[in-house]
């Protein structure tokens, strides 16, 4: 439809940018807990997506089984999941981390499998959704100037992401617990010397991470449908958002989520298949760029590094020539 406000050619582009940004908000909520875990506890919780699904299933049971309003159900579920995160860290991860770098990752793989199949045992394999509990919100939309339609739910999710990440930022900066978490993430040993209880800080970070994962799971169940096996696919997007935004950075995760969302929706303009691919390519590009920057920093700036690299290879090339002769 022609529109005075936006030229027709630009409309799909604007639409893609808007939808991508909104999608990025959801990714950011899913990713910020993971980012906190990587930054503070220093390991990747591969069961993060399964925790999200568990949170969503709890809310579904509270609303559809017990008839609670959805907002109350979320308020009940969040502390339960946070407590679960705290307990899991105290009982599982701490022990596993004593076994070296690889063991905690293996433990989370096992935890993920155990969670998936326990959820299947308890809730069955049917796809479930919170769509029916939020009524028209799952498909209602607002029209922006220029004929751009935005879904109300994605807008709410995105605002919620900004709110969650903003408050997390404030908590980390201005509370005792937050400062303890930050200190632990910068240098755990030095923090302990200054009287910070690093163990408690890690447990708290784990509690926040699991709580936020569960919140993201609730949004996933509102956007679409979930099964006990939906978790691992979500983990990939969360992980990409964390890497794009910078490991352990809270605001960076929001940026990372939005960059991932926009790359996917811009890729989708080309073809459906390009959508996920573009997201993955941006992730790889950022990853390579980060590695390159780290490498150049270790060699005295990129100019010096390039010079060093070329001379090194010229030498090697010449030697090989000499050998042939």
């Amino acid at each position: 439809m022609p529109d005075a406000f936006l030229p027709e050619l630009l409309q799909p582009l604007v639409q893609a940018l808007v939808q991508g940004t909104l999608l990025g908000g959801y990714y950011a909520i899913m990713a910020v807990g993971l980012s906190l875990m990587v930054g503070v506890v220093r390991f990747i919780n591969l069961a993060h997506g399964d925790m999200a699904v568990l949170g969503a299933l709890l809310v579904i049971t509270l609303t559809q089984g017990l008839g609670l309003p959805i907002f109350a159900a979320i308020l009940i579920m969040l502390p339960v999941m946070a407590l679960a995160g705290y307990g899991m860290h105290a009982l599982l991860f701490e022990r596993a981390m004593r076994g070296g770098f690889l063991l905690p990752i293996l433990v989370t793989i096992g935890l993920g499998a155990a969670l998936q199949n326990s959820m299947f045992g308890l809730w069955g394999s049917n796809t479930r959704s919170l769509g029916a509990d939020i009524g028209a919100l799952s498909w209602a939309s607002w029209t922006l100037p220029g004929g751009v339609l935005v879904g109300q739910l994605p807008v709410l999710v995105c605002l919620c992401a900004v709110l969650v990440i903003g408050s997390l930022h404030l908590v980390l900066r201005h509370t005792r617990l937050g400062r303890a978490i930050k200190a632990t993430s910068t240098d755990a040993e030095a923090a302990e010397l200054c009287g910070v209880d690093a163990r408690r800080a890690r447990r708290a970070a784990s509690a926040i991470a699991v709580g936020l994962a569960a919140l993201a799971g609730v949004f996933l169940a509102m956007r679409g449908q979930i099964t006990p096996y939906s978790g691992p696919a979500q983990l990939i997007f969360a992980f990409e958002a964390v890497v794009i935004g910078g490991l352990g950075s809270v605001w960076g995760t929001l940026v990372g989520g939005i960059v991932l969302g926009i790359s996917q929706s811009l890729g989708g303009l080309v073809s459906n298949q390009a959508s996920l691919l573009t997201g993955h390519l941006v992730f790889l590009a950022v990853l390579l760029l980060r590695l390159f920057r780290e490498w150049t920093a270790a060699h005295g700036g990129w100019r010096a590094s390039v010079r060093a690299w070329t001379t090194l290879h010229r030498g090697r090339f010449a030697r090989r020539k000499g050998e042939k002769a």
Binding site: G124, S125, T127, G131, S138, V150, Q225, I226, S230
Partner: protein, 426 residues
């Protein structure tokens, strides 16, 4: 929930079997049972994992069969007990292959049943073919079953038998439904980058062109796709009025919510793998009304179960009363699997000769609750094609949705109840 139900049923079934055996030992009038060894039937089903919905109806159907037959069948002139050995494929093709081998080598079964998508039927069938074990499978369309196993239509397989609808006919039924609604003939495709999506992308475009329809195809995509906004934008730009998707429920929900957000409501909306399952559509409330689907089986099918003597409608009614959940076509095919098994067992001449067992199963031509199963007529050797109708979901009374049959080209026995209606716009 499902697990617990299965456990109780299996236990009660085993208890029933033990009771029967004890009765025979105590000299009650069942001497034949004590003298003859039982028939051992292996069943490979995805009871856990993403395909577990294919095992959902098994406890109910097993209770039905037990009530009607007491798991006793006359084989070669004497009554024998039927023992079931149920193994879980965990929704994995590799595991399915492994449990089939366990059934053959460790459990010493006489015949194997398997059901629920090519991921289950194909590995189990391949294992049976290799080991000379008679095998009966269902709930995978004939083409992915037969061609997916690299079958040669001129030769076929020696040990494996399969019945279900044909994918080609199902596609044809959907096209007939598309034709019933007044549209501009522009079809939007949601075909993912999996075996089904790629098959449709190869086969459907020329068929659509033949019917004077145009295609709007945003291309193959990998699932889960976080957002379908790009596809929706393309469909809007191309003026799509019919959507043909082959996507599972979580994907369909994401797509449909985004489509409604963007004010895009096609006149006809079909999603294979989703729209046949009312439980996956209930979340949409009235937005699910008038979605179209293929119908492999339903209460409208005018067939009777040779085991329980109930009509399809009576089976559905009893299932609703027993489970409180709405029927889907898997209920009929689970029951039919046992019907074909019992029809086959009754024809066996020598139970100890696998050749004789295979001959008995492959030679059946019997009426079942899903229609006539005749392995000699199928499009491929040892396969039988069952009828496939088309329908549309309307507002229901007992459950939120009710299916109306609107198309019967490939199921002429099933009566048409209504004409396909266009979707309601916003």
């Amino acid at each position: 929930m499902t697990l617990r139900r299965l456990e109780t049923t299996r236990r009660s079934f085993l208890a029933g079997g033990a009771g029967l055996a004890a009765g025979a030992l105590a000299g009650f009038p069942m001497p034949a049972l004590a003298k003859n060894r039982p028939v051992r039937v292996g069943i490979a089903l995805p009871r856990t994992g993403p395909l577990a919905l294919f095992a959902e109806h098994l406890p109910f159907v097993m209770d039905q069969v037990e009530r009607a037959t007491k798991y006793t069948v006359n084989v070669g002139g004497s009554d024998r007990l039927v023992e079931l050995v149920i193994k879980d494929t965990q929704s994995s093709p590799n595991r399915a292959s492994q449990v089939a081998l366990e059934l053959i080598l460790d459990e010493g079964v006489d015949v194997i049943l398997a059901s629920g998508t090519p991921e289950t039927t194909n590995p189990v069938s391949d294992q049976c073919e290799l080991n000379g074990m008679p095998c009966l499978t269902t709930e995978a369309p004939l083409e992915p079953y037969f061609l997916g196993r690299k079958g040669d239509p001129a030769v076929g397989f020696e040990w494996t038998n399969h019945f279900y609808f044909s994918g080609t006919q199902a596609g044809g039924a959907i096209l007939e439904i598309f034709g019933q609604v007044e549209t501009n003939g522009v079809v939007g495709a949601l075909w993912p980058n999996d075996s089904d999506g790629n098959t449709f992308a190869q086969i459907y475009p020329p068929v659509l062109a033949e019917r004077g329809m145009t295609l709007s195809d945003p291309g193959r995509f990998d699932m889960p796709l976080a957002s379908y906004s790009a596809a929706v934008a393309k469909f809007k730009a191309d003026g799509v009025e019919i959507v043909h998707g082959i996507i599972p429920p979580p994907e369909f929900t994401t797509f449909y919510n985004e489509a409604i957000q963007q004010n895009f409501i096609p006149k006809v909306l079909y999603a294979g793998k989703t729209s046949a399952f009312p439980s996956a559509l209930e979340t949409f409330g009235s937005r699910a009304h008038r979605l179209v689907t293929e119908v492999p089986w339903g209460p409208q099918f005018p067939y009777t179960s040779p085991i329980t003597g109930q009509t399809a409608a009576e089976v559905v009614e009893e299932y609703h009363a027993a489970s409180g959940r709405q029927w889907n076509s898997q209920l009929g095919f689970k029951l039919a699997m046992f019907e074909v098994l019992f029809a086959g067992l009754a024809r066996i001449e020598d139970l100890d000769d696998p050749q004789s067992v295979q001959k008995a199963i492959s030679s059946i031509s019997d009426d079942t609750v899903v229609g006539r199963v005749d392995f000699s007529k199928g499009p491929f050797p040892n396969t039988a094609v069952t009828p496939i109708a088309g329908g549309q979901w309307l507002e229901g009374t007992d459950f939120p949705l009710r299916l109306a049959i609107t198309e019967n080209t490939f199921a002429p026995d099933v009566a048409i109840e209504a004409k396909t209606l266009p979707m309601l716009s916003a």
